[in-house]
Structures are given as C-alpha cells and as structure tokens.
C-alpha cells in the first residue's frame, strides 16, 4: 500500500471546527486537503450560538478567548454568515437561579465581560415577550450568533485548501484510507469529524448527545437577545437523562430558532415528536406568544460530547501524526477559532494567552506510547 502524499495536512471533517483549523493551517502556508463524507453533522444542525460559558475555568477561558476571535473576524464575514452581536439573556425563574445569575455576573465581570444584571421588571422592559413572574436575568452583551455552515464555507475558501468529498475508513498516524481503498498521506492528519470520530478512533471517549431544533416562520422581530434559561446550566448541560431547556434565538430573518434538548444513547436521526413537544413547551413557558407562531421545520443534530465537557485538542499520544480536534459538545461553533489557534500553537511550538493543558487528549488517552 503506497499512500499518495496529497498535502502538508489532511483534515477530516469540513464542519466549523475542521474549517477553522484548515484555515489556520493554510494561513501558515500549509497546503490542506479537507475530506468530508457529506453526511449531516453538528455544524449543519446547530444553533450557531456564540457565547461565553463558565461551568469551569477552562471552559470560560476557551469560550472567552474564542468569542473574541469571532469578533476579530466578524468584519470579514460575508452577509450570508448572518453574524450578529445581539447578546445572550440568561433567565432566572426563581431565587435559586437568580443567585446563579448573580454569581455568573461576578465571575464574568472579573474576567472583563460586559454584562448586566436585570431584575424582574427590567427584564420585561428589555424583552416584552417574556412571561410575567420571572425573577430576573443576566445580559451578556458580547455574545452573538452566526450561521455556521456559511462561516465554515468562508473559512475553507483559501487557495491552499482543497476540499474533497470522501469517506475515510481508516486512520493510521499521518495516513488515511478512503472508502475506495486509496491511501492518502500528509505531514499530519487532523480528526475533526465530530461523532464520527469514534468510527476511526474507537478509543476516543466521545459520546453522541442528540438535540432537537425547530424554527418558526418569519414574523416581525420582537425578541432582541438570545434567551436561555438558567435552568440550562443545571439541567441540560450536565444531566444524564433526556432533558430540555429554553433556548430561543431571534434570527436576522425574523424567524425564531428554538432549542434545546439533550438525549443520550441514541443515534436515531428522526425527529421524536414527544421530545420536540417537550422542548417547545419549555420555550413557550418563557415566551407564551410562541404558542400561536408556526414552526415550519424541525430537525435533529448530534453533539460530540467528552466526559468533562471540554474538547480534545492536540496530538494523539499513541498515534504520532494524528491530531485531534473533537468533543466540542454544544460549544463547537463558539470554540472553533480557539481550537484552531490551540492546534497551530502546538504544531509550531508557540505559546498562546490560552493554556493548552486542559484540552489535551492525554487527559483521557494517557501518555505517549513511546519514550
């Protein structure tokens, strides 16, 4: 088997993470071959929410750094990427959640994020469609939204990047085998294909988390910020059973994009009516006006989740030549630019304002297999 050397780097997966990494490599002068199987992935399905999340310090550092990188490139993104900096409004339904909001506020302020605590009435002044009786909320002004498939295509549009529709069936260090039997090689191979990564590297601790999404018809815009319930932090992000949380994103089109749900132990892509209904019900509890709006489409997507909720970014410790950028769970769009920077920094042995250690694959895969 004589592999064909095709580029300095092969990237498997043309979603937002693969695209961001490919672009970063190309900008360093590397030729990149991006292989994509053409099967639906999280980038195609997801909400494109750009947000800082502070479940833990490493997540905050990653999302904050990456969000700034999005702001840096926002001006260059074409209109089709629909980038908006409309902020996230975290909603507290009770005292307990309000305490979480206040804590978040302190943490984020310490880290330089522009945010604002809103009590009860002030909340409805900002978002009149919210139901009465909410305790308050936290507005994070620098959060935004982007249409990730268009952003990925924009990132891949570089003279040193060549895209190829192909399914990779085997990975061996810096070589890959395609479905047609052909072997390709490169200086390095980057695995960035979400839940499909475990087909090539079964040892990766990636679990699929199914999510449902729905979008309404176009209506006159009445919601400004992306509305997310704080129950999200406690229930959806960390739960082990099926869960839903209110997540309502106003699209520039006038449509309302509704999420979020999480289910484990299923790779069935079908829309499950009961789960869709549960999710919509949760959203309508916060914005009652949703009840009379029309949903025109519903679909599902699968997030690639790692055990600690942080991605794996770095060289595979036991497979030299194979690099990983997987396990971004629900933060793939937000953290794609940071992932790309981390990857390039490791490749070129440079340092970043962002420490790489919390995201290294070693934490799950162990040390390298050779001295």
């Amino acid at each position: 088997m004589n592999p064909t050397a095709v580029a300095d780097a092969i990237v498997i997966g043309a979603g937002i993470v693969g695209a961001a990494c490919a672009q970063a490599l190309a900008k360093r002068g590397l030729s990149v071959r991006v292989l994509d199987a053409g099967t639906p992935g999280a980038t195609a399905a997801g909400m494109g929410h750009l947000l800082v999340l502070d479940d833990n310090a490493a997540e905050l550092a990653l999302s904050q750094y990456s969000l700034q990188r999005w702001r840096d490139i926002a001006g260059s993104l074409p209109n089709g990427c629909a980038y908006r900096s409309n902020g996230t409004l975290w909603l507290a339904a009770n005292d307990e959640e309000m305490a979480v909001a206040e804590h978040k506020f302190e943490v984020l302020r310490e880290h330089g994020e522009a945010c604002e605590i809103l009590a009860g009435n002030a909340l409805r002044e900002r978002e009149p469609l919210l139901r009465e009786g909410l305790e308050g909320g936290l507005l994070i002004k620098g959060d935004g939204i982007v249409y990730a498939p268009a952003a990925a295509q924009w990132m891949l549009d570089h003279p040193l990047i060549r895209q190829q529709r192909a399914t990779v069936t085997e990975v061996d260090g810096n070589r890959v085998r395609l479905a047609d039997g052909q072997w390709l090689s490169a200086g390095m191979v980057l695995l960035a294909n979400g839940i499909q990564a475990t087909e090539l590297c079964p040892e990766l601790p990636i679990q699929a988390k199914k999510g449902h999404l729905a979008i309404t018809d176009r209506y006159p815009a009445q919601i400004t910020h992306t509305l997310v319930e704080l129950g999200y932090v406690t229930s959806a992000h960390n739960a082990s059973g099926p869960s839903t949380a209110c997540n309502i994103q106003p699209r520039p089109t006038g449509q309302l994009f509704i999420g979020a749900s999480r289910q484990f132990n299923t790779t069935d892509p079908d829309v499950e009516g009961w789960m869709l209904a549960k999710m919509l019900r949760r959203a309508a509890e916060y914005v009652p006006a949703l009840n009379t709006l029309n949903v025109i489409r519903a679909w599902t997507g699968f997030r690639a989740a790692s055990p600690d909720g942080l991605p794996l970014v770095g060289e595979h410790p036991q497979r030299p030549g194979l690099w990983l950028a997987v396990g971004h769970e629900g933060l793939g769009v937000t953290t794609a630019p940071a992932t790309a920077d981390l990857l390039v920094a490791q490749l070129f042995d440079e340092s970043l304002p962002l420490a790489a250690t919390p995201y290294l694959p070693q934490r799950f895969l162990g040390g390298s297999s050779h001295a």
Binding site: D217, R218, Y219, P220, T253, T292, L293, N294
Partner: protein, 78 residues
C-alpha cells in the same frame, strides 16, 4: 354578502369568497413581501406555495384556503 376589512379597507363579498380573492378586490392582491423585497401574490391557489401568507384576525393563515367571514380583519404581510 358579508363584510370584512382588508389592509384597512372595508369591502363586501359573497359568502364563500376566499381571502385571496378579497385581497384582489380590495387592492392589488399582493399578500407578502419576499426576503429580497419583492411583493408577492398567490401562486398555486391550493395551499402549497405559501406565497399567500397573511395575518387574519391576528393569526398567520393562507389566504387561498381561508374563506372570508363577517368582521374578519385581514392584513397582508409588510
């Protein structure tokens, strides 16, 4: 005959008249504006194309498949 209001104009129509027809009687028959700013009017007449989406008594409906009712308030979409 029954009476309804279409984009602020009152008119009388025969029972069984569709809202799409009423829009044409009351004005230019246009129902909505497309995402690139074109005015649109009903195309398929049978509830498929969604060009005739309008607001009827506050709700989003298809004009071609809705019969006029006495006192109905119809607004074409801006």
């Amino acid at each position: 005959m029954l009476e309804l209001t279409v984009d602020g104009r009152t008119l009388q129509v025969a029972v069984g008249t569709s809202v799409a027809a009423a829009l044409a009687m009351a004005g230019d028959g246009c129902t909505r504006t497309s995402v690139s700013g074109q005015r649109r009017a009903p195309l398929c007449g049978m509830g498929i194309c969604q060009e005739c989406r309008v607001t009827i008594d506050g709700a989003r409906r298809l004009a071609c498949q809705t019969s006029c009712r006495d006192g109905m308030q119809v607004r074409s979409l801006p």
